[in-house]
Symmetry: C2
């Protein structure tokens, strides 16, 4: 019996993706599933689909702050909405794509450090000095990181994943796929879990 | 100990509000809560807040169709997305506001008949003949209904509820309030239930 797979399309600037990042390992453990991490650029997805951040509707943005806190409490996850939100995540997501391509063994540590700086501490990662300090604290060499995010193959990978996401119907983050079934939002993780259990049964 | 109250702001054109309409009585029964029905005009809410129907982003609209079907299956609720969607619900919502004002004992039967025609059968309620037939089948006199929805006080009530909703932070439907805590979406009914339980405990 092969392990079921959940593809996880995310951007480090998305607070709902952060909550999903913290919950998905537990769900994968409970369903014997493998997580396929798919770092994408949410800004690119918005541009391609005509979608926009919920905070562009002020009333929706205000409610979302409460809603995210409710979910964080339910999950027992530390969460502070970043006052610098929304930030441009291009460099950070190139970093995620690059880590996955060139330093796969450190990919999770990298995303974890960025998410922690973004939604736990929280810090202004749009400030280059703050990013350098954050990378150093997590054991990453800022010079190597600068080279990684300037690598044309890394840039191309992030673009390709973003384009693939849009082609498959993604319009926001986080988005999950179990086979061809798509689930949008960290608030759909229960459906993701059921799909993984169904796939496991189906493959038995 | 007084019964906790959940305010339910809804529009009959909203499929997620329909799912909430079908689930809320069960939650109210389980929590000994009272439902305060607040018919509002979703189009007016969108206009006032700058929000828009999710279907205005085509990729989001496609996913929502799947998502609503998943929830309907989970709830065991008959659901067919109306092919005439989105429709102008002004007359229908004036009807809801009017029933609540002038024929409170038939309010639930009216909304139920409209929701059934909208999302179970489904029918094109934008067609006047179809609406008349739907009203007749549910035991409502179409002539009386026409007078009701033309009543200036009824029109004013719908406007007032819509304006109140916007003033309190509503940007979409369904929206629930338990005290001053706001919950958006039928997918937040579990939080609504918890809030009702908390309010009951708090008041004990």
């Amino acid at each position: 019996m092969s392990a079921p797979t959940v593809e996880f399309f995310f951007d480090v600037g998305s607070p709902a993706s952060y909550l999903a990042w913290r919950q998905l390992p537990r769900i994968a453990a409970e369903t014997n599933a493998v997580i396929a991490f798919r770092p994408m650029l949410l800004g690119g997805v918005f541009k391609a689909t005509g979608n926009a951040s919920p905070v562009t509707v002020p009333a929706k943005g205000r409610w979302m702050t409460d809603d995210l806190q409710r979910w964080a409490r339910r999950y027992g996850v530390a969460f502070g909405l970043n006052p610098n939100f929304p930030i441009n995540t291009l460099t950070l997501m190139r970093g995620a794509a690059g880590m996955q391509m060139r330093h796969a063994e450190r990919f999770v540590a990298y995303v974890d450090a960025i998410y922690r700086a973004m939604f736990e501490l929280p810090r202004d990662l749009g400030d280059a000095d703050v990013l350098v300090a954050t990378l150093r604290e997590a054991g990453f060499d800022p010079t190597g990181f600068a080279a990684l995010v300037a690598d044309p193959e890394v840039k191309a990978r992030l673009i390709a994943t973003t384009e693939e996401a849009v082609a498959r119907g993604v319009f926001g983050a986080p988005t999950f796929f179990v086979g061809e079934d798509m689930f949008f939002g960290q608030d759909r993780l229960e459906f993701v879990r059921e799909a993984l259990l169904g796939q496991r049964t189906g493959a038995a």
